[in-house]
């Protein structure tokens, strides 16, 4: 898997959109990701629904791929890092321990999402800093949920929606996860390997970039 990135300019600001589903902001040297839902497989197994392991590890590999390519000094997870309280199984912890061990040089931040209700369970040795929703970072607002307000000066980076769009017609249709820019919100696709998507209906003014296998493709929407 090679991750391919494209540069885009949004509200006079440059970003890099990467195909697994992250956004790199060159001016702050930060990689943003959202909705990793680590350990969702473990939560399902805990409730007697047989889901095999592997997705948590695959999600971590995606992040590492991006970290390899990009000179990131910070990693920000925009919420829903874990799926629920049962996600932090032995298996999940093992893989995340390894990840934080390997990437000590980078500062890690988490904006808690609706699924991260039990952040107290997060091991201290991960050096993961919790920041509140609405925190500013060099002209950007960081949030889990999209923010709607009439007077927004900053771009909001957020997740939560797991956006995807349907392209094609009739029998020849594809549903692809996407980045969506709408009403000042730049919404990231869910990065987690075992997460569903929510098909959005594009409106005029939307900007959409889909993830098609390893490429990020700009979609023309009607204005």
């Amino acid at each position: 898997m090679t991750s391919v990135c494209i540069g885009v300019t949004i509200a006079d600001r440059d970003f890099t959109l990467c195909s697994p589903g992250g956004i790199y902001d060159p001016s702050t040297e930060t990689l943003f990701i959202a909705d990793t839902h680590f350990g969702k497989d473990a939560s399902f197994r805990h409730h007697a629904i047989p889901v095999p392991t592997g997705s948590t590890e695959a999600t971590l590999r995606k992040i590492e791929k991006m970290l390899c390519r990009l000179p990131a000094k910070r990693l920000v997870i925009l919420g829903d890092m874990f799926h629920d309280r049962n996600s932090l199984s032995k298996e999940t912890l093992k893989h995340l321990d390894e990840f934080f061990e390997t990437h000590q040089r980078i500062d890690h931040f988490l904006v808690p999402g609706n699924h991260d209700s039990d952040i107290r369970l997060i091991p201290k040795h991960w050096s993961l800093q919790i920041i509140q929703s609405g925190t500013y970072l060099d002209g950007l607002t960081l949030s889990h949920f999209p923010v709607t307000s009439d007077h927004m000066e900053r771009i909001v980076l957020c997740g939560h929606l797991h956006p995807a769009i349907r392209i094609g017609t009739g029998n020849d249709q594809l549903k692809l996860p996407c980045f969506l820019y709408r009403d000042q919100n730049l919404i990231l696709p869910a990065l987690g390997d075992f997460t569903g998507t929510e098909v959005i209906r594009t409106r005029s003014g939307d900007r959409v970039w889909v993830i098609a296998d390893e490429e990020v493709v700009t979609i023309k929407t009607e204005f």
């Binding site: 497989d41 473990a42 939560s43 399902f44 197994r45 805990h46 409730h47 007697a48 629904i49 047989p50 889901v51 095999p52 392991t53 592997g54 997705s55 695959a58 799926h83 629920d84 199984s89 032995k90 298996e91 699924h115 009739g170 029998n171 390997d193 075992f194 997460t195 569903g196 098909v199």
Partner: protein, 830 residues
């Protein structure tokens, strides 16, 4: 002593009691009913088959009654306060039928003054009734396959059920060959284990494979004799076609024949009550509107009925039919089964029923008494369908009815069943393996498959380290059992095989429910879009909490809801008779009004090309503006043609560089190419060679996508997706994932999961009908392949090309364009 001779002063014999019961009703037992009673007394099992409304129920039901009366001859000792313990289980395929069945079964009990308790137990029963029943089951229990499975999870019920004398499956033809049928088989195996002398009886419509129907019913280790008893045979059926005033020589399937509605309305004037069957729910809505347009005065006396409507609405319609208050009801297969509508004296079938058995079954919904005449009027939606009706009549005459194919050992269901048994007292591996293999469906279950199922329910899958912390079924002292109450509850809530489509409730703003519409349809609607549903014209106001709120609307509807599935392919049996009818036509024989009507159409076909005889397969190649078209007509049904078309395109494109686009219908398929096609390998049969046939078909079709779709039901049955109760769904939302997601996860992280293999197998067997493809290919290879190059589209080619166009154009422009093409061809045909 002869039982039939009454002796003065003595207690009447059981048969005399029954005789009196019949007398009081003004009936006389049919010979087949007496045969059934005798067989039952002898301890046999079996199947009673015939058309509906011919006394099958009493034929089976009175057997156990006679036997009990014989064992308890003294009425003075009959105490209604102490009803006998459970003796008979009566399985009905539809929950909604349970109360009617209960009513019917109770009648002889009451009339004979038996102390039997007859009750039903379905998803609709209250919880206090259910727990009372668990303590002491009634003498006869009416239930559904799902509720029976559920009953077996209660250990308390097992001891009582070991005293069960017989199980009766109503409408076995409906269950057989479905996962619900397999579920019933598994339950019967369990009951047989509890009582090896259990007698099994079934009521069924006539099928092409009754032997298999009996085998599936009684299993492989049945101890009793089995009987196939044909019911009342003299039922008279009259078929009639409503022939269009003008026959289109270039028919197409797109417009659904509402042009015929004035004639249909006229026809309805001449009868008391009618059922109008259409093939899809969308057509039901359209025909309801059309007939009402023809006869506005019938408002209130015309109703519609389909599976998406609210159950209250359906119940109201059914009652209206029973009391004869409704003039006519437009319906789908939702009224194929069930309640006897004695007042219905005409059945109208709109569009081809696609199978002879279905036509027969529907015809039997009218004249619902043994001696009445069933009358069916057929409304073709295009001219070629008249040939289908002629073929179906021939098939019925020759008693060449469709078979119900059995499924091959679905593991999803087996896993579900094993968990049920683990909850209901537990099992050892060998014990349940033998029991399961005693069913017809799982007779070839291997030890490897069984071990996989055990691993699946115990560990989540067969690779131990891939599913840590998973717990569902535990193995203790050699017994598989469930101890976790949460697991029990979740499992009990999810027993069953019916996959609820992701549909939304449709409600008026005032709160009145109209029914359910699939989410995919609603998601395409914009606010204020007008559509017809439940016979009402409504517009969408908003969607909130998975409920679509609507209000009444005026104006022209933009759309009719479309529901998934529905389109049945032509059956193999009917396909064969269709080819025979064409064979006759090729020889110049046109028998019956239907064939005479289509004569002009076939005449043009013959003039421009040929009418293929039974041992020929016609290939037409035509160049049109859009490209080179190759039409192949094998009359094998749409699903088979989809497979054959993909196969032909795949194999042709290996030797020549071109892209094909495809279209199929029940009569054949068309390949279209931007370049001329070298037909050599089609004409010499090379394209249809049998080596690696199914592999090539899987390769050529989007088989992964198809498997994914098939996986929906599997994921639900295997307990990956828990449907749960509606109000529970919200809290458990974080444990919901779509079946697509499960499919992807398994493909990536546990590709050897046997549920994936099952999905692939079900695609082959059910979606591609691989057996039919194989036999079609065999037949084609033995046929003479005749090639023609007509100058214009022939009557057979025309509908295929329209289907082809449909993929690309919106419906309105399509209608215009088709009409224009039709005019051009009519002109050319002179």
């Amino acid at each position: 002593m002869n039982e039939d001779s009454p002796e003065r002063g003595k207690v009447p014999t059981p048969l005399q009691r029954i005789g009196k019961y019949f007398q009081r009703r003004g009936w006389k037992p049919f010979p087949f009913q007496k045969t059934c009673w005798r067989m039952y007394q002898a301890g046999d099992s079996g199947i009673v088959h015939s058309a509906t409304g011919t006394g099958k129920t009493l034929a089976v039901w009175l057997g156990p009654i006679l036997k009990w009366v014989r064992e308890n001859p003294n009425p003075d000792k009959w105490n209604p306060k102490r009803p006998p313990p459970i003796r008979v289980l009566w399985i009905t395929p539809i929950r909604a039928l349970a109360s009617d069945t209960e009513f019917n079964l109770r009648d002889p009990i009451d009339q004979l003054g038996l102390p039997w308790k007859v009750e039903s137990r379905t998803g609709d029963s209250g919880s206090s009734t259910k727990s009372r029943q668990l303590r002491r089951l009634p003498t006869a229990l009416i239930t559904t396959p799902e509720s029976l499975s559920l009953l077996l999870t209660h250990e308390k019920s097992l001891e009582q059920l070991s005293g069960l004398e017989s199980i009766v499956i109503d409408e076995w033809h409906e269950l057989m060959g479905t996962k619900r049928g397999v579920q019933t088989e598994l339950c019967m195996a369990r009951l047989r284990k509890l009582n090896p002398k259990l007698q099994t009886w079934a009521l069924s419509a006539t099928l092409g494979n009754l032997d298999q129907a009996v085998d599936a019913l009684v299993g492989n280790e049945n101890l009793s004799e089995t009987q196939i008893i044909e019911g009342y045979q003299k039922k008279k059926i009259v078929f009639e076609s409503i022939i269009p005033n003008q026959i289109e020589r270039f028919p197409w399937t797109g417009h659904i024949g509402t042009k015929m509605s004035p004639q249909v309305a006229d026809y309805l004037e001449s009868v008391n009550n009618a059922l109008i069957f259409t093939n899809t729910r969308a057509q039901t809505e359209i025909w309801y509107q059309e007939i009402l347009k023809q006869r506005p005065q019938w408002a209130g006396k015309l109703a519609l009925h389909h599976g998406s409507l609210d159950s209250d609405v359906r119940k109201w319609v059914e009652q209206g039919l029973q009391t004869g208050k409704l003039k006519a009801v437009v319906c789908t297969s939702s009224l194929d089964l069930g309640v006897d509508f004695t007042s219905v004296d005409l059945v109208v079938q709109v569009g081809s029923p696609k199978g002879a058995a279905r036509l027969l079954q529907r015809a039997g919904r009218s004249g619902h008494q043994p001696d009445a005449v069933s009358k069916l009027a057929f409304v073709p939606t295009n001219a070629i369908e008249l040939i289908e009706l002629a073929a179906a009549q021939q098939a019925i005459k020759e008693n060449d009815l469709e078979s119900r194919k059995c499924l091959s050992k679905p593991l999803d269901l087996l896993a579900q069943h094993a968990i049920s048994i683990a909850i209901g007292g537990g099992f050892t591996s060998e014990e349940l393996f033998d029991e399961v293999r005693s069913t017809y469906t799982y007779h070839s279950l291997t030890k490897r498959e069984w071990d996989w199922v055990l691993n699946f329910i115990q560990f989540g899958g067969d690779s131990l380290n891939a599913y840590p912390d998973f717990k569902r079924v535990l193995l203790r002292d050699g017994r598989y059992q469930v101890t976790d109450r949460k697991v029990m509850t979740a499992h009990r809530m999810n027993i069953g095989t019916i996959t609820a489509d992701s549909s939304m409730v449709v409600k008026y703003l005032s709160g009145k429910r109209l029914g359910m519409v699939e989410e995919t349809f609603l998601s395409r609607l914009e606010t204020d879009d007008i559509f017809t549903f439940a016979g009402k014209q409504i517009s969408l106001v908003r969607i909130k909490d998975n409920i679509a709120y609507v209000r009444k609307a005026k104006g022209k509807p933009n759309t009719v809801p479309r529901w998934m599935g529905g389109r049945m392919p032509l059956s193999a049996e009917l396909g064969e008779h269709l080819r025979k009818k064409l064979d006759e036509a090729a020889k110049g024989i046109f028998r019956g009004p239907e064939m005479k009507t289509v004569k002009p159409l076939l005449h043009v076909q013959k003039k421009w090309s040929i009418i293929p005889s039974a041992d020929q397969m016609l290939v037409e190649s035509i160049k049109t503006k859009v490209g080179w078209q190759v039409f192949v007509y094998s009359f094998e049904g749409r699903l088979v043609h989809e497979g054959l078309a993909a196969l032909a395109a795949y194999r042709l494109s290996k030797s020549q560089r071109t892209t094909f686009s495809l279209a199929c219908n029940d009569y054949g398929f068309v390949l279209q190419s931007p370049k001329p096609v070298d037909l050599q390998s089609i004409l010499n049969g090379e394209v249809f060679r049998t080596d690696s046939l199914l592999d090539d078909i899987m390769q050529s079709m989007n088989s992964t996508e198809m498997s994914k779709r098939q996986f929906r039901q599997i994921a639900r049955i295997a307990g990956l997706i828990q449907q749960g109760l509606p109000h529970r769904q919200k809290t458990a939302k974080h444990l919901m994932a779509s079946s697509n997601l499960f499919f992807d996860v398994f493909c990536t992280y546990d590709p050897s999961n046997l549920l994936l293999e099952q999905a692939r197998r079900e695609v082959l067997e059910q979606q591609l009908e691989s057996d039919r493809i194989l036999s079609a290919v065999d037949r084609i290879r033995e046929s003479e392949i005749v090639h023609r190059t007509p100058e214009r589209l022939t009557p057979l080619a025309f509908p295929l090309l329209v289907d082809k166009l449909r993929e690309r154009l919106s419906s309105e422009t399509l209608a215009d364009r088709v009409a224009r093409m039709q005019r051009q061809l009519e002109k050319a045909a002179g």
